[in-house]
Amino acid sequence: MTELRIDGLTKNFGSFKALDNVSLDIPSGKFVCLLGPSGCGKTTLLRLIAGLEEPSAGRVLVGGQDQTRVPTHKRGMGMVFQSLALFPHLDVAENIAYPLAIRGGDKATRAARAAELLDLVRLPGMGARRIHQLSGGQRQRVAIARGLSINPKVFLLDEPLSALDASLREHMQIELRQIQQSLGVTTIVVTHDQQEALTMADLVIVMKDGVIQQAGAPMEVYHNPANAFVAGFIGTTNLMPCTVADGAIQVLGQRIPVTEGDRIGVASGPAHLSVRPEHVILTSEAEGIPAEVNFVRDLGESRHVLMLVDGHEITAQMPPGTGAAALRPGDRVGLSFRPGQRVVVA
């Protein structure tokens, strides 16, 4: 069992605190996404787990053993780098078998393992190719295969799919998740792409300024954000300042009574109301909060209506074929937030 434990990890670069007392328990075999904007410390955390950086304080435990002072090359990790870092002087099979060659594996074992992994990443028979002969997606797969060749205790990936174009990236997200599930290897992926995290992860860890904002299952983080930052970072949402008092939310000059299903994370006082665009309901001007249509964006599968209320931009997402079709910029409408789908966070 190779569960991973991060205990009070801190990393300073000079006066800059890249990671501030981060603690985390990752159960064996889980797929974890470290998610956050650039500079949030997610890559630093990954490099500390790999042993490529020394922590200023705290411990890294793999399978119950303290690895904090163990040098990188003795940690038995697999890693995929952002630049992929494939070795140009070796061919595909030699790249994949490199971790075995370093450990003194014999030629036949190396060749067999390389072939096995090439099958796993769906590049059968490509072992003799040179790295520069491969496409971007193929290099990606070779890097993944190389990272897995020693059956690593933990499989680390640093923004592995960022260099791929959008459709290939989506495809590789699914494939990476399937490979991880078939092997059951504890996996940590650093990404700034929230959709990538929601697609692949068992556990999403949202970070900002070197601190974990929230750790939870993708849908928990999506539906039940811990704070305004998480609500705004995961998925698209309408975020409005509000006040909570006497079982009601005071927002945009309206008092909305809390109903069952609403998630109210603040007992009373100033807070933020988060409502997803699909839960903003448009009605006639007479009902609801008065708003003026600013822009209508038709995406085919859905239609986004952007409105201005008190200087706040609110987006409503409507299914096609609804009344929204007739809306034009400048039209006056009323809006309300679907009961049970209102989230109040600090």
Binding site: A50, T72, M79, S83, F87, I102
Partner: protein, 284 residues
């Protein structure tokens, strides 16, 4: 439609410039040298045009074969030592901060401003019995009495390496600093210790650059004729010293020219071999 694109950066005739320069300053002198090498020696000190392969025949002797062997081994040894020192140094240099790198490179470049004469005399003083490091070793109790380390093969190679080192670093620095640091980190994570990442990943990825530095120092030291006289014994005199001797002191220009032609052919052959060995399998 329009013809070939006409907005090239430089006009085409500008390409003639290097060709003219090459002809004027390399091919023409080389032609003259070839002609002189088969000219007849004039006893009064110069030469008469003609065809006399005697100079080449004279060169084919055990004595000059040995001189040739000494020249090549001295230069090969100097080049090998230089690169062996310069490569790890450059890898380390590239890992330093930007300001430190600039500082070190400026210091290295300033070494190039020193003439071979100054370097030669400084080293012969430093290695001498009366004022050299022998006194320091004696004072430290390492040796019984101060001794001279020059003239010797050691002094000669030291001098040649001193001159070759900055060139080797300057040739190695651009490719070394461009090497993706993640490649080395990848090797480390995948189980390579420091030395095995160095020899298994850094060295093979920079094979071309290492060969380039080797060839440069080799060719550069092959032409050195002052240092062997200042720091070496007569048996360490390289072919370049003998060429100078024949041309300047013996007034035998045809023989000097013949030796020069031969030295150049051998050097070319070795450079060709080396660059063949340095060709990267992965490069397309």
């Amino acid at each position: 439609m329009s013809g070939a694109p006409s907005h090239t950066v430089a006009p085409r005739w500008l390409g003639l410039w290097p060709a003219v320069m090459l002809t004027l300053f390399f091919l023409a002198p080389f032609g003259i040298m070839l002609a002189v090498s088969v000219a007849k020696r004039d006893a009064s000190g110069f030469y008469e045009w003609g065809f006399d392969p005697g100079s080449y025949a004279r060169f084919m002797s055990a004595f000059f074969a040995k001189v040739m062997a000494v020249s090549l081994s001295v230069s090969l040894a100097a080049a090998a030592i230089c690169v062996a020192l310069a490569f790890p140094f450059t890898v380390f240099l590239a890992s330093l901060g930007h300001r430190m790198q600039t500082l070190v490179l400026v210091v290295l470049l300033s070494v190039l401003a020193l003439s071979e004469v100054i370097i030669g005399f400084s080293l012969s003083t430093l290695l001498s019995q009366t004022a050299g490091i022998g006194n320091l070793f004696h004072w430290l109790g390492l040796i019984d009495a101060p001794r001279a380390y020059t003239p010797s093969l050691f002094a000669l190679i030291t001098g040649l390496c001193y001159i070759g080192f900055p060139f080797a670093v300057l040739v190695l620095y651009p490719p070394v600093s461009r090497l993706d640091p993640e490649i080395v980190e990848a090797a480390r994570v995948m189980g390579a210790s420091g030395p095995s990442a160095f020899f298994g990943v850094i060295v093979p990825n920079l094979r071309g650059a290492i060969m380039g530095a080797f060839i440069l120092v080799f060719v550069f030291t092959l032409g050195s004729y002052l240092l062997p006289q200042l720091l070496g014994r007569s048996e360490h005199w390289t072919l370049s010293v003998h060429i100078t001797d024949q041309a300047v002191y013996q007034s035998n220009l045809p023989f000097a020219a013949a030796m020069s032609v031969f030295l150049m052919l051998v050097a070319l052959a070795l450079v060709g071999l080396a660059s063949l060995a340095g060709r990267d399998k992965g490069a397309a």
